[in-house]
Amino acid sequence: MIPEIEYLRPGNLQEALQMLSEYGETARPIAGGTDILPGFHINSRRFRDIKTLVDISNLPEITAIREANGGVYIGGAVTFTDIVKHPLIREKYPMLADAAAQIGSVQIRNRATLAGNFVNNAPCADSVPPLLVYDARVTVRSLRGERHQPLGEFLLKPYRTQLQPDEMVTEVFLPPLPAGFRGEFYKLGRRRGVAISRITLAVLVKMDQRVIEDIRIASGAVTPIGARFPELEAQARGKTAEADFLKELAIQLGEQILQRTGLRWSSAYKLPVVQQVFYQLLRRICQ
């Protein structure tokens, strides 16, 4: 059941920010609604205090994709369908397009938005690992002003970010990726369509002959929230991409995941899968 709520439709971003500022914690922006409405339906504790929904789905300021500063700015309320279809994102940030194409179903992708996905910050949010390896930065606006922050800092813990009640994520910036990086996104769900991810990995590698010049690694669903692995990345830089070393790296990824999550009932299955998949991804990318 959807509770008694007040629905507000601001005409522009400024009005939306005023509404959020006025209503505070009892208000929540709604765009695609693909997390909020099911949340209402199952009477999720996370959504029980909402009294007012501020519909931001059609605000022109946050529904565009534009090229600037060598990279791409994606509006917070851009849908996954728009991301999948966008030639520039497909060309320059293919892992994001790839992850977006595997989210939910056509119906979900037609409504669900990029900022909605990571502001909800479920452990399994599929857009997060690719955004993290692309060093995405978020723009957060409120009546108090504007701030910019790396996504990795913005995300705090499961279902928690640094977003304050009067704030909204207006844009995500994907900086230019230095030449030579190649990567892959991997998703494992119980089935292909409408699947909650069990494992996601995003890996970007820059090779210099046989040497790993630079590497970026992120996981989702197997870590409390989507996250990078800076120690592992530092350890791999400058090493030769031989099978033995890649295996060692995969083993360590599994160990670090275990450290972050603790032992789970599913660890006996997931850890060897993560390690094997990661090893195979590295083999393909480093070829």
């Binding site: 629905y7 695609g32 099911p38 979900i108 037609n110 409504r111």
Partner: protein, 154 residues
Amino acid sequence: MKEISIHFTVNGKKVSLNVPSRKRLLDVLREDLGLTGTKEGCDVGECGACTVVMNGRAVHSCLVLAAQADGAEILTVEGLAQNGELYPLQKNFLEYGAVQCGFCIPGMLMSSYALIQENPHPGEEEIKEAIAGNLCRCTGYKQIIQAVEATVKR
């Protein structure tokens, strides 16, 4: 009760009504407009039974607030047939035995319709992707896919 006034087009007809702001598009279609072809299934965006086409895109009407459909063009399964004649997709669903219990069919039709509008000649994989968000527990999908293929074959 908090109400909101909405104006939108449903199956080519302009509709204006006042609805409680907590109502979903699905509720308004079924309860206020009597368009019960659109089915209520899981209510959480997993089964696809409530799929309608909104501004050319397939959406779950259970995950759209009616207020969010203000100004939109909505097509439901009732809007497919023209002048008493079934839409080719519907004819082929019958022809290929794609309908058993029938509960998923309006959603299947609307997902397939949205696909064909955007991509008039989809391949089998594209058809499967388009209906991946629609659950059918009777047919095993094969006849549904065949019916869509027959519709797009020239």
